[in-house]
């Protein structure tokens, strides 16, 4: 029998259907006040557009994460963008050779603010087992990283965990952060204007 559409939109049959709760605020008759940061954070964190930068084995784990079994879309991130201009989250998965470094940096530069970076796997985070002349010893040498996921490769659960950590950061971020002095210093330490 075909599954009726309302199955997905109504909470029938006691299936847990989760809707993101409202942020903290004051509630009255016909009005609700809260901080703009909270609302923006709520919207941003549940509709992240990831940009996968998958170069090797960890990328395969990401594919599993994206596919139906683990299904990253449960976290509002099914829209994987392949243009850095549209995306909020750069997911770097895999070994980044030194020659790839400038490419990765350029992709990061092409992303519009606000942007976040998730470094998946030992290679992206530290060079991993490739302690050698040709591999970048961690992408944080060229771009700032928000969350590191350890593992070689990390399981999809770990990638999702890292993704949820990113969501947490995104949700809590003040809308002023990216204009602040501290953020400017961070960017300058990477030579990014």
């Amino acid at each position: 029998m075909a599954r009726p559409v309302q199955y997905n939109v109504k909470n029938e049959g006691g299936k847990p259907l989760q809707i993101v709760g409202a942020p903290e605020g004051f509630n009255g008759d016909g009005f609700f006040t809260t901080k703009l940061s909270n609302v923006v954070g709520l919207a941003r964190k549940n509709s992240i557009w990831p940009l996968p930068f998958a170069t090797s084995c960890c990328g395969i784990e990401f594919m599993a994460t994206m596919a139906s079994h683990y299904d990253l879309s449960r976290f509002g991130a099914e829209r994987v963008g392949f243009s850095p201009r549209q995306c909020d989250l750069l997911m770097v998965m895999g070994t980044i050779a030194k020659k790839m470094g400038p490419v990765l940096r350029q992709v990061y530069l092409q992303m519009a603010e606000p942007r976040w970076v998730l470094s998946v796997g030992a290679c992206a985070s530290s060079g991993g087992i490739f302690d050698t002349y040709s591999v970048l010893q961690g992408i944080d040498q060229i771009i700032p990283v928000d969350v590191y996921v350890p593992g070689c490769p990390p399981r999809p659960e770990a990638i999702i965990d890292g993704f949820m950590k990113i969501q947490e950061l995104v949700g809590k971020e003040s809308i002023r952060r990216r204009n602040g002095e501290k953020y400017k210093q961070l960017m300058e330490s990477y030579g990014i204007q």
């Binding site: 985070s125 302690d131 002349y133 040709s134 010893q137 961690g138």
Partner: protein, 167 residues
């Protein structure tokens, strides 16, 4: 007539006499050596000879023998006769101070990238190559990483984050 190793060896010695040396056949694959000045002459002979017809360059690479003075770098050509399906290996040796070897690009167009790779990793200077620059490593690299000149862990590197490796 089947093209056997003996026939190849015979043809080569007829043409080049004592210049081609060190014939051996590990695992049945004929391997020999010539002075590096002759590498193009030998390759061309192997290419054009009606019996030999080694017209396909399967691979070109280098080997570093740091203890073999005056012959530190070997450039190895793997050639394939596609008509008789016979493969041979041809080596030339050069000193590491003067790593100049003639480029085979005029004879085998496929040598172009392989010579660039060999230059990239071993610093073999292929004389006559149209575009001899690094192909796999970053352009800024100022050493040839596959030469056996370095301790296993390169102490001069500054890009390693020791904290990550528990050192």
């Amino acid at each position: 007539m089947e093209l056997t190793n003996d026939i190849i060896k015979q043809r080569l010695t007829e043409k080049f006499g004592d210049e081609v040396t060190n014939f051996e056949a590990p695992y049945g694959m004929l391997t020999f050596e010539a002075p590096k000045e002759l590498n193009l002459k030998v390759l061309q002979f192997l290419f054009e000879d009606d019996i030999l017809q080694f017209r396909f360059l399967t691979d070109l690479c280098a080997v570093n023998y740091p203890d073999d003075e005056g012959r530190e770098l070997a450039v190895v050509y793997h050639l394939h006769n596609l008509v008789n399906n016979v493969r041979i290996r041809f080596k030339v040796f050069t000193a590491v101070e003067t790593p100049d070897v003639f480029s085979a690009t005029a004879l085998h167009a496929g040598a172009n990238w392989m010579e660039r790779e060999t230059y990239d990793f071993f610093g073999v200077n292929f004389v006559g190559h149209p575009n001899l620059k690094r192909i796999l490593n970053v352009d800024e690299m100022d050493y040839f990483p596959l030469r056996k000149e370095y301790p296993l862990e390169d102490q001069t590197r500054i890009d390693k984050d020791d904290a990550m490796f528990g050192r």
